[in-house]
Subunit: 343 residues, 2 copies
DNA sequence: CTGAAAGCGCTAACAC
DNA sequence: GTGTTAGCGCTTTCAG
């Protein structure tokens, strides 16, 4: 089954293959008569253009790379869906790669993708180190970072205001009368994580509360590991009236552990998540959470990347979208123990 | 920022660019001395091979296309993760495309992907019509169908025994004493769907039960639409003691609707799902379901595709994996109304 | 309006 | 061992 090329069409049509190229790419100077005839013949012969060859001369592949930690994470897969849709609309295809939270694999992914001449890359970085690791590749390939505030680094990114998100969440819990809130699943290594922890921490301070953290040692959230950690939380015997989870997936694990320990949510302890994945809206889950505007994030990332592909020289830009509080049923009002009345 | 090519390296090294090619691709005849020197120079110059050019001559891209209905579906994204991992292990990259359950878009995706010279394609078809629509492309590009029994059609596929799955589920419900089981979310257009419905239907018949179907008119499952349908189910006032949902996502919607109507699961009605997505294991969800071995499916699909890429002439093959029952808490034993005792 | 020729970056015969 | 040459499929000057 040999594939039919432009030359095959040319010889059948009895013209030079240049003419065929022109007829097919619709570029300018060609007789309407011959054009139609060639297009017709090409169709009959089942011709389909070889994009690889075309890319080689055009020096663009109309392909963008997407590297994420884990495509099966609900948050990520939802964003990936929107990114693919946006890319598609603009005539771009997606090459997907899971880094598994591994910086080495991120680097390999960049090597592979730049080798494949992708026009640009969107990366949800695994770690703080990521930036430096992939820096050499970003010199030649426009890159936008997803969900990560790159601060002063020369990098384009779109993210949300994580600091504000956790502040907002803490504020909400405080307004419900909670004074003993533990932050579950703090991690290190990325600004996003630090900022989330910081927003909570600063809010606590401003309300005169003592921040308390449960740190999560692993790079990628797995339900199982988060569940183990949540068990320790409840087994620890510490006092707290609310837990603010670093992500919805973690919150779900807390929910599960609470269930195992006979702790009722929200009667015994309130639970607040972050991300607003679809399953958080489920009945009996009904997780109150901080929403990330996923569709807007995806659209902004694609738009930004396409902009940089067109004008690579432009200064780096950033878009910081705002999260919002989605109130469902996992947090309840309680009577604050001492200082003051609930608002 | 011009990219450095093999020629640049050659001129710096003072050799012909063929030599550089040989040095870099490590193929055979070249002096160990010069090889090392060239590799060194290439590294210093930041050379990175242009895979596009290489693909053009090699006539392979080491890329496989993956087209799915919706990457954000939990089942799909999990399978996609495993597929990407498997592909990666074998040195292949993934081009991802969402068909959104749309046959037109599937066709466009095939056109695009074959144009990009992918070495093969894995497709989770949207519809029965899919096969015929993409047939012309499969002539030149090895294709394996995912999650769809292609029957006698000349096509390679890996799927599970859906018929057995629903039979097994129905049998289980029957064994718990259920005699009025409704099948929620039957759809048309794919064998998979028909087979699921049929397994249930035949099992009912063999147990002397009357099959009852709630049909789902849409192509892609959205929680919202499934929820609406589930509401109608409970609003209808029909009698039933168990519902067997076509997918876990649908089961979750049933759960939600039940909640809204004050119907308790499993006290008032038992609920059985299909797929075993991660969230079904959640506390308070704890959905009993038919498990699809996702990792095995992914591995089989990649293996099969790679096999066909290597030997395209081979006869079409199929792998039909077996589903299994995962018992959790959403189905309970009841006293059968009349005929006989529960086992 | 159409054809000839060059070349995108790389590999693979085939010489030397 | 290394260089020369051709060519993968296509687009794009540049002539005519």
């Amino acid at each position: 089954m040999k594939k039919v090329t432009i030359k095959d069409v040319a010889s059948v049509a009895g013209v030079s293959y240049t003419t065929v190229s022109r007829a097919l790419s619709g570029s300018g100077d060609i007789g309407e008569e011959t054009r139609k005839r060639i297009v017709q013949i090409a169709r009959e012969m089942g011709y389909s253009p070889n994009t690889v060859a075309r890319s080689l001369v055009a020096r663009e592949t109309k392909t963008i790379g997407l590297v994420v930690n884990n495509i099966s994470s609900p948050y990520t897969s939802e964003v990936a869906l929107y990114i693919e849709e946006q890319a598609w609309v603009h005539g771009y295809s997606l090459i997907l790669c899971n880094s598994c939270g591994n910086v080495e694999k991120e680097q390999t992914a960049f090597e592979l993708m730049t080798g494949r001449q992708v026009d640009g890359i969107i990366i949800h970085p695994a770690d703080e180190e990521t930036y430096h690791r992939i820096l050499p590749y970003t010199k030649n390939t426009p890159t936008v970072f997803l969900n990560e505030d790159m601060g002063d680094l020369p990098a384009s990114y779109v993210t949300i205001d994580n600091y504000k998100g956790t502040w907002m969440g803490t504020e909400y819990l405080h307004s419900l009368g909670h004074r003993e809130i533990v932050y579950f699943g703090r991690r290190w290594g990325k600004r996003t994580r630090t900022q989330r922890a910081q927003g909570y921490s600063d809010a606590c301070e401003s309300y005169g509360l003592t921040p308390r953290f449960i740190d999560y040692p692993h790079a990628v959230t797995t339900s199982h590991q988060a569940y183990q950690l949540a068990r320790e939380l409840f087994a620890g015997g510490d006092r707290f009236t609310a837990v603010f989870a670093n992500t919805d997936v973690m919150a779900l694990s807390v929910l599960q552990a609470a269930d195992a320990f006979g702790v009722r949510i929200p009667e015994d302890v309130s639970l607040l998540g972050f991300d607003n994945i679809v399953f958080s809206a489920l009945p009996k889950i009904n997780l109150t959470t901080i929403e990330q505007p996923k569709q807007a994030i995806a659209a902004a990332a694609v738009t930004m990347l396409l902009g940089r592909i067109k004008l690579p020289k432009t200064e780096h830009r950033s878009r910081v979208l705002v999260p919002s509080l989605v109130i469902r049923d996992s947090c309840r009002r309680i009577d604050p123990p001492r200082e003051e009345h609930a608002v």
